[in-house]
C-alpha cells in the first residue's frame, strides 16, 4: 500500500481501480505531459456530458469555453517562454478585466448546470478580497510554516482603519473629542459640516497596510517565540481579542470614547474616487458610488490590488527572505545555526502577511461602505485558512484557486446548488445554512484524496509525502 501513496493527480484508491482496468501507473507516468492532460480533460468532459446531457440541451457557447480552457491547459506552454510568460498571462488578464462586460445584465454567458449563472460582480469583488487575504495568510502559513488562526484580526484592523479615517465616526459619535468640523484630505463629496476625518482611500490603503503590519509586528514579537501548536493557540487568542474589542469599543475603558461604534459598527465610509479634477482631465471616475457601473469599478480596483499582492508574494518567495522562511519551516534549529535570525525573519513573515490582510480589509470596508464587527468572527480566520489548505499551501496559484472557489461557494454557489436541488427534487432545504458543514466536508474529502491541496507547491508536496513515509516506517518498527 505504501508505494501507492503520493501519486499525483488521482488518489490511491482510484489508482487501484484503474490498475485493475489495465492502466498501470508507470505507463501513465511515461506518457508526455500534453497527452496526460488531454486524457484527463477528455475524461472530465465525457463524465460531464454523461451526467448533464439528460438534463440539459447542448450549448455551443459552453463548448467554446471548454475548448478555450483546453487550449490554455493542454499544450506545454511553459516550455515556450514568450507564450508562458506574456501571452497566456495576458489572455487571462484580458478575460478577468473584461468579465464585467460578460457578466453584467443582460448576461451574455450561458448558465452552468447545477451551479447556475456565472458569479455576479458583488461576488467577484468579495472573491478578489479573499484572494488577497489568502495570499497574505499564505506567506505566514505556506511560506514560513507558522500556523496563524487569528488572521481575521489583521483584516479587521485594515477595515477599521478605513472606517476611522474616512467616515464621520469621530465627529458624530464623539462630540466631546473632536470639533464639529471635518478634516478632509483628498476625499470626494464630503458633506460640509459632517465632521470626522475624510482621507482619500488611495492614501488609506497604504496607511491601513502599514498600520496592520505594525500591529502584526506588535502581536508577533511576544508570540513568535513559541513554536507549532502553542503559536496556533496564541494567535487564536488574538483573533478573538481584536474582534471583541471591535464589538465592545463603543465605550472604551469606560471613558465614553466611541472607538469602534460597537455592535452596529461604523457607517458610512466615504466612497473611493479620483475627484472631479481627474475626471475632467483624464476621465477617471470622480466617485465610485455615483458611477453607473460602480461594482465594476470596485472589481477592477480589487483586481489591481490582487495583482499587486501576487507580485509581491512571488517576488518575496524568490528572495533571500523567502529562502529563509522556507528554511525556518524545514528546520528552525538548522536555520538559526546558518545565520538566519529566527525572530526577525518570522516577524517579517507576520508583518508581510498582515500588510496584505490590511489592504484587503480596507478595501472590503470601502466596498461595503461600513464596518460591522460580525464580519470579523473567528470563522473568517478558519475560512481563509481553508482556502490556503484547500488550494495548496505555499503555491500562490493554488491559493488563488482555493480562495476564488470557496468565496464563490459562500456567496452564490451554495445558494444556487440549493435552488437546483429544491426545484428538481421538490425539497425545501436551505443549503447555505449548512455552509460550514459543507466546507468541512470539502476539506475532509480534499485531505483524503489530495492531502497537499488542489495545486500543491512541489516542495510542500514532497515534504508531506516524506512525513507519511517516515510515519509508516516508525509505525512498522514499533
Amino acid at each position: 500500500m505504501a508505494n501507492l501513496r503520493g501519486r499525483g493527480g488521482v488518489g490511491p484508491a482510484w489508482w487501484g481501480v484503474l490498475e485493475r482496468l489495465g492502466l498501470r501507473h508507470e505507463r501513465w507516468e511515461r506518457l508526455p505531459e500534453p497527452a496526460r492532460r488531454s486524457v484527463t480533460l477528455g475524461a472530465a468532459a465525457v463524465l460531464a456530458l454523461a451526467v448533464l446531457t439528460p438534463l440539459y440541451s447542448i450549448d455551443l457557447q459552453a463548448i467554446a469555453v471548454f475548448l478555450v480552457l483546453a487550449f490554455l491547459f493542454v499544450p506545454p506552454w511553459r516550455r515556450v517562454p514568450v507564450v508562458g510568460r506574456f501571452v497566456l498571462p495576458g489572455m487571462v488578464f484580458a478575460l478577468l478585466v473584461s468579465y464585467p462586460y460578460w457578466a453584467s445584465p443582460p448576461e451574455k454567458l450561458f448558465t452552468i448546470p447545477i451551479l447556475g449563472p456565472f458569479p455576479n460582480m458583488n461576488t467577484m469583488v468579495i472573491a478578489a478580497i479573499f484572494v488577497m487575504m489568502a495570499l497574505g495568510l499564505n506567506m505566514v502559513v505556506g511560506y514560513a510554516g507558522l500556523l496563524d488562526l487569528g488572521y481575521v484580526a489583521f483584516y479587521a484592523i485594515g477595515a477599521y482603519t478605513a472606517a476611522w479615517f474616512a467616515s464621520p465616526q469621530f465627529a458624530g459619535a464623539n462630540p466631546d473629542f473632536t470639533p464639529k468640523r471635518e478634516f478632509t484630505l483628498g476625499a470626494v463629496d464630503v458633506i460640509p459640516g459632517i465632521g470626522g476625518f475624510h482621507v482619500s482611500i488611495w492614501l488609506l490603503l497604504p496607511l491601513a497596510a502599514a498600520l496592520t503590519a505594525i500591529v502584526g509586528v506588535v502581536i508577533g514579537l511576544p508570540t513568535l517565540r513559541l513554536r507549532g501548536d502553542y503559536l496556533a493557540i496564541v494567535t487564536l487568542g488574538f483573533g478573538e481579542i481584536l474582534p471583541q474589542i471591535a464589538r465592545n469599543g463603543d465605550n472604551l475603558l469606560g471613558t465614553g470614547f466611541n472607538l469602534t461604534g460597537g455592535p452596529p459598527g461604523i457607517t458610512p465610509i466615504d466612497p473611493p474616487g479620483f475627484g472631479y479634477w481627474l475626471q475632467d482631465k483624464v476621465g477617471l471616475p470622480a466617485s465610485y458610488i455615483t458611477h453607473p457601473a460602480f461594482e465594476s469599478l470596485f472589481y477592477w480596483t480589487a483586481i489591481f490590488l490582487v495583482l499587486f499582492t501576487l507580485f509581491c508574494s512571488v517576488r518575496l518567495r524568490d528572495s533571500r527572505l523567502g529562502r529563509a522562511w522556507v528554511a525556518i519551516r524545514e528546520d528552525e534549529t538548522a536555520a538559526a545555526a546558518m545565520g538566519v535570525p529566527l525572530m526577525r525573519t518570522k516577524t517579517w513573515a507576520y508583518a508581510a502577511g498582515a500588510f496584505f490582510g490590511g489592504i484587503a480589509g480596507c478595501w472590503f470596508a470601502t466596498f461595503k461602505t461600513g464596518v460591522f464587527p460580525d464580519d470579523f468572527y473567528f470563522n473568517i480566520s478558519v475560512f481563509i485558512l481553508c482556502m490556503v489548505i484547500f488550494g495548496g499551501m505555499g503555491n500562490v496559484w493554488g491559493v488563488i484557486a482555493g480562495a476564488v472557489f470557496l468565496a464563490y461557494l459562500d456567496r452564490e454557489g451554495l445558494g444556487n446548488i440549493g435552488g437546483w436541488i429544491n426545484t428538481n427534487f421538490g425539497t425545501n432545504i436551505d443549503v447555505p445554512l449548512y455552509s460550514f458543514g459543507i466546507y468541512g466536508l470539502i476539506i475532509v474529502v480534499v485531505m483524503l484524496f489530495r492531502p497537499h491541496g488542489l495545486l500543491p507547491e512541489a516542495r510542500r508536496k514532497r515534504e508531506f509525502e516524506h512525513t507519511l513515509q517516515e510515519e509508516e516506517l516508525t509505525g512498522a518498527e514499533s
Binding site: L316, S319, A334, M338, G339, R462, E463
Partner: protein, 258 residues
C-alpha cells in the same frame, strides 16, 4: 599563534546534572582540534554552548577576543562560527544550491523592499551569491548536484553539503559534529583529507567532534578529551593516546590494572 577561540570555565547544568563542568579550552588560529570522549561526555553540549543554542550556566566564550557568550545562534554565525550537526540537518526539500544560499543569509543584504522591487543591486547580489554557491558545491565535490533536493542526495554527499552550507557562512571557525559518523571507510578517508585541505586552502580553523580514532589521530593538531563533562586530557594526538586517564575513560579502569 594567537588563539581564535577561547573558552573560560564553561559550565552547563541541566537540573542537577552537570553536563559540562568548568571546561577551559582554546584553539589556535589555523589549527585542527579534535574533541573526543565517550558517549554522554558533554561534547555536543559544549558545541551547543559555543554556537549559542544553549545558554551556559557559567563561563565565557571568546571568539577573536570578542565575548560571544550566550549570543543567539544567528549572531554567533554572523561573527564567524559555522557548524554541522551530529545528525544531518539539511533543509531536505530545498535544493543543494538553495541550502548553500541559506548559509549565505547573514552575508547578504537584500531587504524586503529591495527584494520586492528587485533592484539592480539585488540582482547583482543574487547572481553573485549563486555563482559563489556553485563554486562552493564544486569545492565540496558536489558539482552537478545543484538542482537536486538535499533529501535525495547519497549520505556522503549530504555530509559534504552540510559542510558546504557551513562554509557559505564564511566562518573563521568551523565546528564539525561527528562528520564521519555512518560513512564507509573509503568515504571516511576522503573526508579526512578534505578537512585537511579545508584548513590549508580556505584558511579556516576546525574543531571536530569525532569517534573514529583513525581520523582524530591522522588529522588533528591538538586533541581534548572530555569525560563526564570534565576535561581530562589535552595535548597532541600522541600524548593523549598515552594518557592513562584517557585509556581508563575509554576502556575502563581494568585496562590499566591488567
Amino acid at each position: 599563534m594567537a588563539d581564535l577561540l577561547e573558552v573560560q570555565r564553561l559550565r552547563k547544568e541541566f537540573g542537577g546534572l552537570v553536563a559540562v563542568n568548568d571546561v577551559d579550552f582554546r584553539i589556535a588560529k589555523g589549527a585542527i582540534v579534535s574533541l573526543i570522549g565517550p558517549n554522554g561526555a558533554g561534547k555536543t553540549t559544549f558545541f551547543n554552548m559555543i554556537t549559542g543554542v544553549y545558554k551556559p550556566t557559567a563561563g565565557r566564550v571568546l571568539l577573536d577576543g570578542e565575548d560571544i557568550t550566550a549570543k543567539p545562534p544567528h549572531a554567533v554565525t554572523a561573527r564567524g562560527i559555522g557548524r554541522t550537526f551530529q545528525t544531518i540537518r539539511l533543509f531536505g526539500e530545498m535544493t543543494a544550491l538553495e541550502n548553500v544560499l541559506v548559509g549565505m543569509h547573514c552575508r547578504l543584504r537584500g531587504g524586503i523592499l529591495k527584494s520586492i522591487l528587485r533592484t539592480p543591486g539585488i540582482r547583482r547580489e543574487e547572481a553573485k551569491a549563486r555563482e559563489k554557491a556553485r563554486e562552493l558545491l564544486a569545492y565540496c565535490s558536489l558539482d552537478g548536484r545543484d538542482g537536486d533536493y538535499a533529501r535525495n542526495l547519497p549520505y556522503g554527499d549530504q555530509r559534504r553539503l552540510e559542510v558546504a552550507r557551513a562554509l557559505a557562512t564564511q566562518p573563521k571557525l568551523l565546528l564539525l559534529d561527528e562528520p564521519t559518523a555512518g560513512m564507509n571507510p573509503q568515504e571516511t578517508v576522503d573526508f579526512t583529507s578534505f578537512i585537511a585541505r579545508l584548513r590549508d586552502e580556505e584558511d579556516v580553523t576546525v574543531l571536530l567532534i569525532e569517534h573514529d580514532m583513525k581520523v582524530v589521530m591522522h588529522v588533528s593538531d591538538r586533541v581534548t578529551v572530555l569525560d563526564y563533562g570534565e576535561r581530562i586530557a589535552e595535548g597532541t594526538p600522541g600524548e593523549v593516546q598515552r594518557d592513562p586517564r584517557v585509556i581508563e575513560a575509554y576502556l575502563g579502569s581494568g585496562a590499566l590494572a591488567g
